[in-house]
Structures are given as C-alpha cells and as structure tokens.
C-alpha cells in the first residue's frame, strides 16, 4: 500500500474508528462489566455479583412492564409513521392528476412546509406543549371536545388523556408520530423524486390507478429508504425517553407508558442502584440490536429477485 494511501486511510478511517471505540464501544463494555456488579454509583468500590442484577430486574414486576411498553412502541410507532409519511410523500410528489406530467397535488409546497414544521421543534418542547394540551381541566383538547353537540361533549369533561390506562399510551404515541411524520415525509419525497418518470408513464398506460401505482411502482423503488426509516424510528421508539418523561414522568397509570430508559434513570439516580441500571441498559441495547436485525432480515427476504 502506498504511504499516501495509508496516510489517507489513517486520517479518514483510523481517527473516527479510534473516537468511536473510545466513546461508544468502550463505555458499552464498561456498562456490561458494571451490570455484573452491585455498584452503588457514588463510591469507587463494588462487588462482583454475576447475573443477580438481571435476575432481579426481570422479576421485580416493573421492568418487564417497561419492556412490554417499549415493544409495543417499537411495533406501532415505525409502522404508523412510515405509512403516514409515505402516503403524504406520494400525494405530494406523484399523486396529482392522472393526465399530463407526473406531479403532486395542487398546493404541495404548502403541505411540505407545514408538515415538516413539527420536526424542527425540540422533542422536550413538543412533550411539554402536548402535556398542557392534554390537561383534563384547562387543556386545549378537552376545551374543544367538551363543546361537541349531541351530548358527546359531556364524556370529555375532565377526561384525563394521560391518566387513563386506555388512553395514556395512544395519546403518547400520537405525540411521537406527530413530531416525526414531517421529517420522514421529506425523506420519502427525496427518495421518490429519484424514481424515473418513465415508470409512471408506463404504469399509467397500462391502466394503473393511483393506489396500484403507489403499491407496485413507488414502494418497491424506495425499499432501502423505508428500511432506513424503519430502523431509525425503531431506535426512537425503543428509547422514547424525552417524550414519555415530558408527558408522564411518573410512568403513566399502572406504568402503562413507562419505558426502559425511564426505569433505568429512576433505578440509577433515585434508588442509587447503578449496577442494576447498567443491566437494564444492556438489555435495552440488546433489544435495539435485535430490532435492527429483524428489519434487515425482513428487507432481505422481500428483496427477492433484486439481490
């Protein structure tokens, strides 16, 4: 290898690798080590206790609930967000009239800007604003709903959107999706714009309607983008700390919106069990890796003849 090439590699690959190992891999290995001890967090001494932390967290009745909540989030949030943002992106780019050039609906530019706006707001601000909107007595949502006619309004008097088991999780999921749809719509718009227009002309000649075109032409061409979006959204859903902590810092009614990251935070800083919290962190990381693995695996299966 020429020295100039070696130098090039050293700078562009070597330096980032070193930083990555130091700041990502090494702390993770440290966390795995701490999860096998009873470290209290405030002293430099700890005892090795093996897998006791893992046994404890899976039997304490709270962490399994958090795992369940995160799995629900990981299934629902990416699915709904991708579907919604894909539909919007299709409407905005190729969903326009069936005659003439391939274009989006009238006024697409406005839709693009308006739907991207929520993504520019920091997650904590979204969480705080929506927790006020959901307030049972003074919130905007109940303020509007209580005025519905035919007596339906009466049901919503002081209805605790974040306090009832049935509505706490759906309300929180709505807030997360609301924040992300705009960004993924823009992502899909960029991907769809890369599809050659001749495909659409050909589909139109063959008599395909808008829905059929979307399913058979657009979707397969943006498969990689959908996979990327799915993985990113899955990572957000498996964490979801900022949204859930802003909307329901206590974990929701019957811990129905408690996430693993919230439980980890509480175990470490309120209860002073850093070893146990590291065990939760390791479980969280493992679940995220499994999720990414599943998405990649499914994508490869669907790829079919392309691969």
């Amino acid at each position: 290898m020429r020295p100039s090439r070696l130098g090039f590699l050293l700078v562009t690959v070597g330096v980032p690798m070193v930083v990555y190992i130091a700041l990502v891999i090494w702390p993770f290995l440290q966390a795995v080590y701490y999860s096998l001890t009873d470290w209290g967090g405030f002293s430099a001494s700890m005892n090795f206790i093996g897998l006791d932390n893992y046994k404890y967290i899976f039997t304490d009745g709270i962490f399994p609930l958090a795992v369940r909540n995160n799995i629900i989030l990981a299934i629902v949030v990416p699915l709904l967000t991708v579907i919604l943002s894909f539909l919007l992106a299709t409407m905005v780019t190729v969903g326009g009239s069936n005659t003439g050039a391939v274009r989006g609906l009238k006024g697409s530019n406005v839709y693009r800007i308006v739907s991207f706006f929520p993504y520019t707001i920091p997650a904590i601000v979204i969480g705080v604003i929506w927790s006020q909107v959901y307030d049972p007595s003074k919130g905007m949502l109940n303020g509007a709903l209580t005025h519905l006619p035919f007596g339906i309004g009466g049901h919503f008097q002081s209805f605790a959107w974040l306090g009832e088991v049935k509505s706490a999780m759906p309300s929180s999921v709505f807030v997360i999706i609301w924040g992300f749809v705009g960004f993924y719509m823009v992502l899909f718009v960029a991907a769809i714009k890369g599809i050659p227009a001749e495909l659409y002309d050909a589909a139109r000649i063959d008599g395909a309607g808008r829905l059929r075109t979307m399913w058979s032409v657009t979707l397969p061409m943006v498969r990689e983008t959908v996979q990327t979006a799915y993985v990113y959204l899955g990572v957000v859903a498996l964490d979801a700390f900022v949204y859930m902590a802003a909307l329901n810092p206590t974990g929701g009614p019957n811990n129905s919106t408690l996430t693993m990251s919230q439980d980890l935070y509480k175990t470490a800083f309120t209860e002073g069990h850093f070893g146990r919290a590291c065990a939760m962190g390791v479980v969280l990381a493992a679940l995220t890796l499994i999720f990414a693995g599943i998405v990649f695996g499914v994508n490869r299966l669907i790829a079919g003849r392309e691969k």
């Binding site: 130098g7 070597g14 440290q30 049972p136 007595s137 002081s158 206590t250 002073g272």
Partner: protein, 474 residues
C-alpha cells in the same frame, strides 16, 4: 486516476504528520479512559489544613479559604445560602463562599463522589437528590455543628425545634442537617370558608360533611396531580400515626410485614376511600401535572382543600388568587380518642444538608452551616421564603405579612413537643413506585384492598432486597 509516484514529497509528509498528530492525544486519552471509573481513589483530595479550634472557630476554619457549596435550586432558590455566605465572608475577611445552583444533584455530583473530590457542602434535595442511604458512610457527622455556638454566641441546639437531630440520623451518625421546618397539614382559604360559613374540619367525618357541602356549591373537596398523589399517602400515614400512636409509625418506618394492614391505617384508609367513592376528589388528577392541579385549588378554587407540606405557599406564590388567606391546620384524626392530641404534627425538618468527608474544606462546609443557623441568616430565610427554619424565634407574630406562615407558627407552638417524622419514603426512594397505585386509587380505579396490597408489595420489596442498607428507626 493518474498514478502518483510513491516518493516522499511535501504532500505525503503533511498528511502523515496530521494523522500522527491526531492519533497521539486520542490514543493517550483512550489509555487514561481505560482505567477510569473503576479505579478506586480512596483518600481523594487533600483537606485544607484545619486551624486551631476555639469557641469562635469550632471547626478550625482557616480564614482565607474557599467554601464550595452545591445547592438545590428549587422552590426556595439559592439566594439564602448566598446571603449566609456573605455573613460568613464578613466574619472571616479573605474567605470566599462559592454557591453553585443545581437541579440535578445526583447526576452532577456522582462523578465528583467517585473521583473523590465532592463539594464542601451540599443541599441534597429535589427530585434528583442522592438517596442519603447510598452515601451515608461518606458524610460527616454534623452533631458538632449543633453543639457549637452560632455567630451571635448562643449554643445552636438550645434554640431549635425538637426533632432536628433525630431527623438526620442514619444509624448512629447525624449525617444530615435538615434546615427548613416543614409542617404537613391541610391547607385552605380562610376567606373562602368565611364566605360560605364553613368550619375547618378536625376529624374525617368532618371532612366528609365538608365534602358534601362543597358539592352543593359545585366545588370539590380535594384536588391532586399525578406527580403529587403521594401527598395523600402522607395524609393517610400522619392521620393514622396521630390516631394510633408511635407503634403505627415504627412499623411503617422499619418496613415490617403487613404494616399497611394495621387496623388504624385501614380505618383511615376506609374514610379516604369513601371520599373518593363519593366523588369529592376532582376527576382527571391522574393526567394533570401537579402544579396545575394545585393552581386549581389556589387560583381557580374548584377544589377547597389540599394536603401538602408548608412549602405550598412559596410554590404557588405566583398562582394564588388575590384575597386567598392561605391557612394551615393539623391533619384530621378519626375521633377524639386519638393517642396523640389533634394538634400533633408531622413537622419534618426538611431540605437536607450534608458535608462529605472527602471534601477539600470540611471545616468550611460546617462553618457555612453555622452561618446559616445564626439568627441573621435564619431570619432572612424566614422573611424571604415565608417558611421557618429549624431555628426558633425568627418569625414575628405578623408572619411577615403571610397568613400561611402565621398559621404554621401557630401550629408549631400548639404542637409543643408532639412532633413526629416519617422518614422511610425518602430514605429508600420508594415514592416513584408508590405514585402508581395512589394515582389509580384516587382515580377510583383501585380499591382500598388493592392499594394496601400494592403498597405492602413495595415495602416488602425494599425489605427483602439485600443490596439496600436498612436504617433502624427508633
């Protein structure tokens, strides 16, 4: 691409030098990271040389040193510590007191504790406070602060409300100095009650009657918010302790099996359950943020009473209706045959102050505490925060213009020596777990038996956890 001759030219030298220059410090940092965290550094920083002690300088504070204090920036702010710091700087010219506010005590101080250089004094309070149990063996015993004289020359412990030493004990060591006298009670607007001719309740049956009367005026007896559902747990415990005496308290504090099934607790819980079932709690609390809920009591007046500690006036200062004469009364008993008199109070000295043993200037930390306990600083606190410190006699009869402060002093004087304290919730950090069943109970979705079972489960979990050090409460 054209082939580049492999010769040492200016370009290749620059590139390799850049790569080497970047790799070296990063590699060095990585090597130091490798040891970090788990290496035990016992002994930490060197302590400031303690000077000679005298009655005017009981801790050997060296006059030209710096005191590093990290203070929780919550309802009371940090300016009262800055004031005390100025008092200290005036007494010891050349010394400096550095006050750093923080809302995340545990998160920000954990690395300092591990590396062995914690601050000289910490106000360990708030939602992110360090559980004192976790660091108890790293804290100084503060009973020598109580034995010392204050800046005006009188012995500090002669002029304190009772129970200060006991409230700070972890084992045999008084590891915590609680600074603010917090009184738990029921709070209401005396002007609202006058307007409707209502009398403040003394027993749970009085509360039930009051709830019915409030309903006729389309108001609710109580409100609650999801982060503060545990305030009603405090009400339950305090009322049962007043009714049933110390055995009730000791069973709870020492995490005994079936402590929540004690007959007195169950009797009070039955009354509370009745209040929930009759709809006297404003609905939706489980989805309401707690300061919003409190505003419904102090500003909106859709709820007429609230169970809380005496910080409530300061906390809701900007959201209290004009003419709201905030008044506090002791928590109710079941009947007049209670073991403790009705006037007995859960007067917990709160706002935990600790001095870590590994700090650089331990004497400075203790000297700052001595300054805060002197009359000048204690009176300043009472005047600006409208809450009494543990130092008696700093609040005039006018209560600095606050009806809530006046009623606090009245309650404390009427209680005399009948003050008690409930410590296990903050010692073991169980409140986050307890909030879940309490929110369900107050929403009417869980009955008294379910709540008892859930709370007992939490207590049993702490008791059976071998990694938690238990504190025996007398």
């Amino acid at each position: 691409m054209t082939q580049i001759d492999s010769k040492v030219n200016r370009r290749t030298v620059m590139r390799t030098a850049l790569a080497a220059g970047l790799a070296l410090p990063v590699g060095g940092a990585l090597a130091s990271c490798a040891g970090g965290g788990s290496s035990g550094t016992s002994g930490g920083g060197s302590k400031a040389a303690t000077g000679k002690t005298s009655s005017d300088n009981p801790f050997g504070f060296s006059a030209k040193s710096t005191v590093d204090a990290v203070i929780f920036n919550g309802g009371y702010g940090t300016d009262y510590v800055t004031f005390a710091g100025k008092v200290l700087e005036k007494k010891w010219p050349g010394s400096t007191v550095k006050v750093s506010p923080s809302t995340q005590i545990a998160q920000q101080l954990q690395p300092r504790f591990v590396s062995g250089n914690p601050p000289d004094m910490i106000d360990d309070s708030g939602a992110n406070a360090i559980g004192v149990n976790t660091i108890a063996d790293k804290l100084e015993d503060l009973s020598d602060v109580l034995e010392a004289n204050n800046f005006e020359g009188t012995k500090i412990s002669d002029n304190l409300y009772p129970g200060v030493k006991e409230a700070g004990l972890v084992g045999d060591k008084m590891a915590v100095l609680n600074y603010v006298m917090t009184v738990y009670g029921l709070w209401y607007s005396a002007s609202l009650f006058e307007q409707y001719g209502w009398t403040p309740p003394k027993t749970w049956d009085d509360l039930l009657d009051l709830g019915a009367k409030a309903k006729t005026k389309k108001k609710y007896l109580f409100v609650w918010g999801k982060e503060a559902a545990s305030y009603y747990q405090q009400l339950l415990m305090d009322s049962a302790i007043k009714q049933g005496g110390d055995e009730v308290r000791l069973e709870l504090e020492n995490l005994k099996p079936k402590c929540w099934s004690n007959p007195t607790i169950q009797a009070v819980l039955a009354k509370l359950e009745k209040i929930v079932k009759l709809g006297y709690f404003k609905p939706g609390g489980a989805g309401t943020q707690f300061t919003q809920a409190q505003a419904q009591w102090s500003n909106d007046e859709s709820g007429i009473m609230y169970a809380s500690g005496s910080w409530i006036e300061n906390e809701m200062k900007s959201q209290t209706k004009k003419g709201f004469k905030m008044t506090g009364i002791p928590e109710p008993t079941l009947d007049s045959s209670s073991k403790m008199p009705y006037e007995a109070l859960n007067a917990a000295p709160g706002e935990q102050y600790v001095v870590p043993s590994q700090a650089k200037n331990v004497a400075g930390g203790k000297e700052l505490l001595r300054a805060m306990l002197s009359k000048e600083a204690a009176t300043n606190f009472a005047k600006t925060k409208l809450a009494p410190t543990i130092v008696k006699g700093t609040v005039p009869a006018s209560g600095f213009g606050s009806t809530a402060l006046q009623s606090q002093i009245k309650m404390l004087d009427a209680a005399g020596s009948h003050l008690f304290n409930v410590r296990f919730v903050s010692l073991y950090g169980t409140v986050q777990d307890q909030l879940v069943p309490w929110n369900s109970f107050l929403s009417g979705q869980l009955d008294a038996a379910g709540l008892t079972k859930a709370l007992q489960g939490i207590t049993d979990k702490v008791r059976n956890d071998p990694s938690v050090k238990k504190v025996k409460i007398q």
